[in-house]
Every structure is written in structure tokens, then in C-alpha cells.
């Protein structure tokens, strides 16, 4: 994928890019209850049901530091009127920790309002986004163990993060390269490097430093060389898998990286979704025995859900539970792989599959109408089973049902025909007997 990066799994295990998200939930009993119930409910745990006692303390609130899994109760509310205890259940998909419980003591008599702060631990996982300070953002696509990473023959260093050099030419973020090489010299010397732009031009011409007003990169290069490193900041690395020298030297150095807030665990299951689809397809191709089952899988995964009223295609937008865009570029890559069945499945079967009636005499798909069989009423009255009407569609313009054929097509095609008709353009279909027909 574009701008993918590989993180060192061992570094992650040592705590690299570890993060936490705080989420506070306010429970205000005076707000929740209806006017008649006001002041009648309080935080209290039930005595009868001991199963929640591991999560909820005697005051009806969670223990600080407690881990709460999705579906677990974390707080219970007792209603005096109904004599019922209601548990607040944690939603979501990941376990959280109770970080802090703050109680509102304005109301001295009985507690009405609490703030519960939850802590979501977020270790880097595949799909999380990271960025340097130069807008070079990327998504972690692999977590590789330390031993698999390439290593330097002289120092034995293994990288924390590997990025793709194709991120540079079009974006021209030279500053990131300078940061890397300058940081390398800086860490070898144990000092900071001043990388102020145009510093050499602004420098006082009478100052002493003018004589060495060469490019920063040149200064850095020669200092790197003094330390026994390559002038350009590249190093000879060895493959972690084979132990052989990599065919070219690799530019390596320290760069400040940040973790961005877009984390996959927040993003529904969009990613797993796609993978499961492709997986089902692979099954279909590789194991013809399981074909029926696999097709069924694909069908279930995707074709349920809301669709657009006009095009009958799945709507976009994750919030509304829509599908994932499969655009032209995706289509092209599928074509390049020759995966015609997958393409057909994605763009047709799982999208706006539609069986249209076409009149082969006039070639129109818009002039077809359903015929209401006349005898049906009579037959129903007489108790006979309704006969299966052979063709209950007819062409309105030809006034016959002789040339009616059914053709599978995307529903948008019918929509296109309707739009064209609205502009006084007639679309005619010529039906033929293809190889599959």
C-alpha cells in the first residue's frame, strides 16, 4: 500500500509508540430520571446478585485500576421507586481500565453525579498511522521482529522503523533527510545541530564563521566521515533473514516520529472486512469444493445493508454502515491480475445486481410493464392454486409480451437509461446469444 511502513516489533514490545486514550463518562442521576423520580435513585450495588461484585464496589461505582471488558457492568444505579437496580454496561470492542472516579459532592445527602475516567491502552497495531515532522505520514503494515530486520555489520544496530523511499521524490521533503543525517551527527557528538534555513546567508560577514559557510549537508558529511561513517549517511546492512549483505547501502539515521490519532481500533472493522472478503475469494479460487460455501460468505458479508434509493448501490460512509469504495484504480488492479470473477463479484453481485426485463423487439428496458392477470381473482375465489403466469411482463410500446427477455445488469444501467430518456435520447439494447447464454 501507499506509504506503508514496517515497525520493529521488538521495539514496540519495549514500549515504542505506546499510547493511551482517556475517555470520561459522566453519570448524572438527576438528569437521567424523570421529574417524578428525581432524587429517588442513587448509586448502590445489589446485594442479591453477587456476580457484579468483582467489578463494582459497595458504593455502586467501579474500583480504580479495574479492567473492564466490553459487556461488563461498571456502575449500578438503584431506583427507590421501582426497587430495581440497573447496571451501566461498558460498550465498545476493547477492554478498558478505570483510571479515576470523581464524585460530585455538592449534594451532600446522596450522591447524584459521578465522572468515571477510562483508560484505553493503545499499543501500535497494524493499521495505525505514524508521521515524521515533515508530513511524511504512513500506515504500519507489518510488525517485524528484531531478528528479521536488517542489521549493520559494524554497529549491529537494527532499525525501529522502515519506510519506502518512494515517499520522497514527489513530496520533496528534503528536510526529513537533513533531519536524519543531522541527527546522526548530533548523536555521535552528543550535541544539537542548528539547521536554521538561510543561516549562512544571514550570518554576519565580519564574523569568524564565514570561512566555513559551506552547505550544512557538507559540514555534516565531513563530520560523519570523521566518526567512521559514510559521508552521505548510508550504511551497509545485512539481511536479517539470510545474513547476507544487502545489494545496496541504506540511508539510516534517527528521525523524530509521532503517532497520529487515527487508529484502526477506532475505525470499526473496515480493514478486517476487506481482508475477509478477499480471503473468501481466495478460497473460492483455490478450493473449488468449497465454492458454494465461499460464495455464500461473500454474499452475506457485503450485500446486506442500506442501499442508495436511486442507484441501489451500497451507500458510502462508514458511520451509516456503508460499503467500501471500489473505484477505478481498484478495478484496474483487479483487471491487471486477471481476477475477472472477483471483479464481477465486487462490482455487480455485491453491489447493485438487478435482473431487468428487456423487450427484444424494440430493445427498450423502460417500456416494460407488469400485467395483472385477470383470471387470478376468479381462481382465488374458487379455491384453486394461482397458476404460475408464464410471462407477466409485456412491452407497452409493442403491446405484446412475445419478445420479453430477462437480462442481468447493474441497476445504475437502468437509471442511466431513464436519465437519457428524460433528455430525449432513446437507448436500444440488441440482445444476442453470447457464449454463456
Amino acid at each position: 500500500m501507499e506509504d506503508a511502513m514496517i515497525l520493529n516489533k521488538s521495539s514496540v514490545e519495549r514500549g515504542m509508540f505506546h499510547g493511551q486514550i482517556y475517555q470520561t463518562e459522566t453519570i448524572d442521576l438527576s438528569e437521567q430520571s424523570r421529574k417524578s423520580d428525581r432524587g429517588r435513585s442513587s448509586f448502590r450495588r445489589t446485594v442479591t446478585d453477587k456476580s457484579t461484585h468483582s467489578h463494582i464496589d459497595a458504593d455502586g461505582l467501579p474500583y480504580v485500576g479495574q479492567m473492564i471488558c466490553p459487556g461488563d457492568a461498571y456502575c449500578s444505579i438503584y431506583n427507590e421507586v421501582t426497587n430495581m437496580t440497573r447496571n451501566m454496561v461498558k460498550k465498545g470492542t476493547e477492554p478498558v481500565y478505570v483510571d479515576y472516579v470523581a464524585v460530585d459532592v455538592k449534594n451532600k445527602k446522596n450522591l447524584q453525579k459521578v465522572n468515571i475516567r477510562f483508560r484505553h491502552p493503545r499499543n501500535p497495531v497494524i493499521g495505525d498511522k505514524f508521521s515524521s515532522r515533515h508530513g511524511q505520514k504512513g500506515v504500519c503494515s507489518q510488525l517485524w521482529p528484531d531478528v528479521d530486520m536488517p542489521f549493520s555489520g559494524t554497529t549491529g544496530m537494527r532499525p525501529d522503523l522502515v519506510i519506502n523511499p518512494h515517499a520522497f521524490p514527489s513530496r520533496m521533503t528534503i528536510a526529513m533527510l537533513i533531519e536524519s543525517i543531522a541527527a546522526k551527527v548530533g548523536s555521535l557528538n552528543g550535541e544539537f545541530i542548528d539547521a536554521t534555513p538561510f543561516a549562512s546567508s544571514v550570518a554576519d560577514p565580519n564574523g569568524d564563521s564565514t570561512c566555513e559557510s559551506e552547505l550544512l549537508v557538507d559540514q555534516i558529511g565531513s563530520r560523519l566521515k570523521k566518526h567512521g561513517f559514510n559521508y552521505h549517511g548510508v550504511e551497509v546492512l545485512y539481511s536479517g533473514f539470510y545474513g547476507t549483505e544487502l545489494p545496496c547501502a541504506i540511508f539510516i539515521g534517527p528521525v523524530y516520529y509521532q503517532r497520529l490519532r487515527h487508529m484502526v481500533s477506532d475505525k470499526f472493522q473496515a480493514r478486517y472486512f476487506i481482508i475477509s472478503l478477499l480471503f473468501a475469494y481466495i478460497h473460492q479460487v483455490l478450493c473449488p469444493v468449497n465454492q458454494g460455501l465461499s460464495i455464500l460468505n461473500v454474499f452475506q458479508v457485503r450485500s446486506t445493508g442500506t442501499v442508495d434509493q436511486v442507484t441501489r448501490q451500497p451507500i458510502k460512509g462508514r458511520k451509516k454502515g456503508g460499503g467500501i469504495r471500489f473505484g477505478e484504480m481498484e478495478r484496474d488492479s483487479m483487471l491487471a491480475h486477471g481476477a475477472a470473477y472477483l471483479l464481477h463479484d465486487r462490482l455487480h453481485t455485491c453491489s447493485d445486481y438487478h435482473v431487468a426485463d428487456v423487450c427484444s423487439l424494440c430493445g427498450s428496458i423502460l417500456t416494460t410493464t407488469f400485467i395483472q392477470p385477470q383470471q387470478r381473482l376468479v381462481r382465488e375465489i374458487s379455491g384453486l392454486p394461482p397458476p404460475r403466469a408464464a410471462k407477466k411482463v409485456m412491452c407497452q410500446s409493442c403491446q405484446t409480451n412475445e419478445g420479453m427477455e430477462t437480462v442481468a445488469m447493474p441497476y445504475v444501467f437502468r437509471y442511466l437509461a431513464a436519465e437519457l430518456a428524460a433528455m430525449n435520447i432513446k437507448m436500444t439494447l440488441h440482445l444476442g446469444h453470447g457464449a454463456g447464454a
Binding site: Y97, S152, Y238, G243
Partner: protein, 318 residues
């Protein structure tokens, strides 16, 4: 395959050996063997690290998981690890991981009673086994030993308290990086450098100097008496091709010829302190032997043939 033997007899020559550092030559073998040894040293030599933490009181600024993670990363002396059991296949405790054969218990109690910040360090961890203790870096580092108080776990201010019980278990670096005994394991091919003396003599002294300085590491030098270019440290060569490029740029290709001896390796091993670097190498060889035995034995058994027979036939193109 008509019985031709490809067996080789690798040799090891130790160059330099300290407690946490060893440098040796590995001769008469190939990159696959050298790399296997490197990989085993990094992720398959067992050590002991804290794996389970039960927190009784924690009013510090760091949360429970964070402290547990920090405790896990503390290096513990692991000479015992090779003879210890993995708690997952320990018979004595049914994989419970709490018995003396597969675990070591630690206790930590710290409370700050003064206005001065209290550093809770690895030295505050009380071990149930005197052979498994946090690694002491104070003497080896050469710092003033009264200053060095171990690895800081958390800092406490007045009134804050940390009380916990931790269980350390045997593990390998493959499962989690905290069990890796090696800080650095690296090797390089031994270089072989030939100077074309006739061509070299055609250079002026300045050109020679330029050539010598073209290498970032000090591989060549000029003899002050004879003004000849000599190889002072061929192992300093990093295969960066800088001198070759320089020779090319001077219009003298073939000035030097550099080959990598593909069956000789120079290893550098640095341990994290949990076991001695020399022991790390020995343990790695032992584990590598066990792994090879496992392959060899499974090949002979009938069960393995049942298991892999079809696969083998498939791989032969059947």
C-alpha cells in the same frame, strides 16, 4: 547425491572477552550458519524476566500496566534459565506458573515519607531466589557506586506508595523482547585486501594521501618512512566501496582489490548483563544443536513420514 560429504568443521577463535562483550572469529562455515547463530542468540536463548505483576497499592503517577511493563524490562540475572522449566510445560504446578521450578517471586514495597522525591529502583525488588536478582550495573559501569542505585521504576512524592508482588518466568526473545539476552549481535565477512603495488607506486604522495583518506574508517595508512600505502586494519573496512570509488575517480581502477572471505565471520556479541556474553554464545550453540537434533530425529521416525510424506511427494512434483 553419491555420498559426497559436504560436512565442514567450523572453528571458533576468541579475540576478546569481557563479562558483557565478546568478539570472536567463526571460520569454515557459511552465512546461513553464522546467521542462525546470530538469530538464536537474539531470540532463542532463554532468560528470566518478570511476567506477572499483582499490584496491591499503587498511588504513584504511573498506572498499573505501565509499571508492570517497566518491571518486565528489568534485566534479571539468568544463569539458572537454561535449567529452569517453562511454566507452560511445568508438571509441578500444572502450567500455573507459580512453583519454584518455573518461577521466581519478587516483592516490592516502597512509600515516600519525606519531602524529597523517592526513586523506586530495581534494587528495591526483593527476590525469593538469590540467584535471580536484578542485574547490578554499578561496578561494571565504573561510576561511583553510591550514586548508582539501579534502574528507576517510578518516582514517588510524599505520601505515595507502591506495593506489589511480581512473578518472573523463563522465556525467550521470540515471545517478547524482554526475554532477549543480547543487546547486539552482529557479524561481518572477513575482508581480504590486495594492493596493486605497481599501480600504487605510480601515485604521488598527495594522491596516496587522498586515497587513504577516502575511507571513513582507518583501513589504510602511509608508512612514514617508505611512503608506501599499507593496510593497517583490514577489518575496519565496512564494504562501503569508498576506496574503490576513489580509485575509479583517480583513473586507476584495480588499485586495490577487496574480496569478502565468504566462509569467515567476525562476530561481536554484547549481552544485556543477564548472562555473560561468553555463556550466551555457548547457550546459543547448545540450542542450535537441540534444534538440529529435533530435525534429524523427526526425519527418521515413521510418524514424521506419515505427516510429511504427502508433502514430500508434492514437493518432488507428484
Amino acid at each position: 547425491m553419491d555420498g559426497a560429504s559436504y560436512q565442514r568443521f567450523p572453528k571458533i577463535r576468541i579475540r576478546e572477552m569481557k563479562d558483557d562483550y565478546v568478539k570472536f572469529e567463526l571460520r569454515d562455515t557459511d552465512a546461513s550458519m553464522a546467521n542462525a547463530l546470530r538469530r538464536v542468540m537474539l531470540v532463542e536463548v532463554p532468560t528470566i524476566a518478570i511476567d506477572l505483576v499483582e499490584i496491591e497499592v499503587n498511588s504513584s503517577v504511573l498506572n498499573d500496566e505501565f509499571i508492570a511493563h517497566r518491571l518486565g524490562l528489568i534485566p534479571l540475572t539468568s544463569e539458572r534459565a537454561m535449567n529452569m522449566r517453562f511454566s507452560r510445560d511445568c508438571d509441578a504446578c500444572d502450567g500455573d506458573g507459580q512453583c519454584e521450578f518455573c518461577s521466581v517471586e519478587f516483592h516490592l514495597r516502597a512509600k515516600c515519607m519525606t519531602d524529597q522525591t523517592l526513586d523506586v529502583t530495581s534494587k528495591d525488588l526483593i527476590s525469593s531466589d538469590h540467584t535471580v536478582i536484578p542485574v547490578d550495573f554499578s561496578d561494571s559501569a565504573g561510576f561511583d557506586s553510591s550514586e548508582q542505585r539501579g534502574i528507576i521504576i517510578v518516582k514517588l512524592r510524599r505520601g505515595q506508595e507502591l506495593r506489589l508482588r511480581a512473578i518472573a518466568r523463563k522465556g525467550i526473545g521470540k515471545d517478547h523482547a524482554k526475554w532477549s539476552p543480547a543487546a547486539t549481535v552482529t557479524f561481518m565477512y572477513e575482508p581480504e585486501i590486495h594492493i596493486n603495488e605497481d599501480l600504487m607506486e605510480s601515485l604521488t604522495l598527495d594522491e596516496k594521501r587522498g586515497f587513504v583518506e577516502s575511507s571513513p574508517t582507518k583501513v589504510f595508512d602511509i608508512d612514514p618512512n617508505t611512503h608506501q600505502v599499507v593496510v593497517v586494519d583490514r577489518e575496519a573496512y565496512t564494504y562501503d566501496d569508498e576506496v574503490l570509488k576513489k580509485a575509479e575517480a583517480m583513473g586507476k581502477p584495480g588499485l586495490v582489490e577487496i574480496y569478502a572471505k565468504e566462509d569467515n565471520f567476525i562476530f561481536t556479541v554484547e549481552s544485556t548483563g543477564v548472562i555473560k556474553a561468553s555463556q550466551l554464545v555457548l547457550n546459543a550453540i547448545e540450542i542450535l544443536k537441540q534444534k538440529l537434533d529435533a530435525v534429524r530425529l523427526s526425519e527418521d521416525t515413521v510418524e514424521a513420514d506419515d505427516q510429511f510424506g504427502e508433502l514430500g511427494a508434492h514437493m518432488r512434483g507428484g
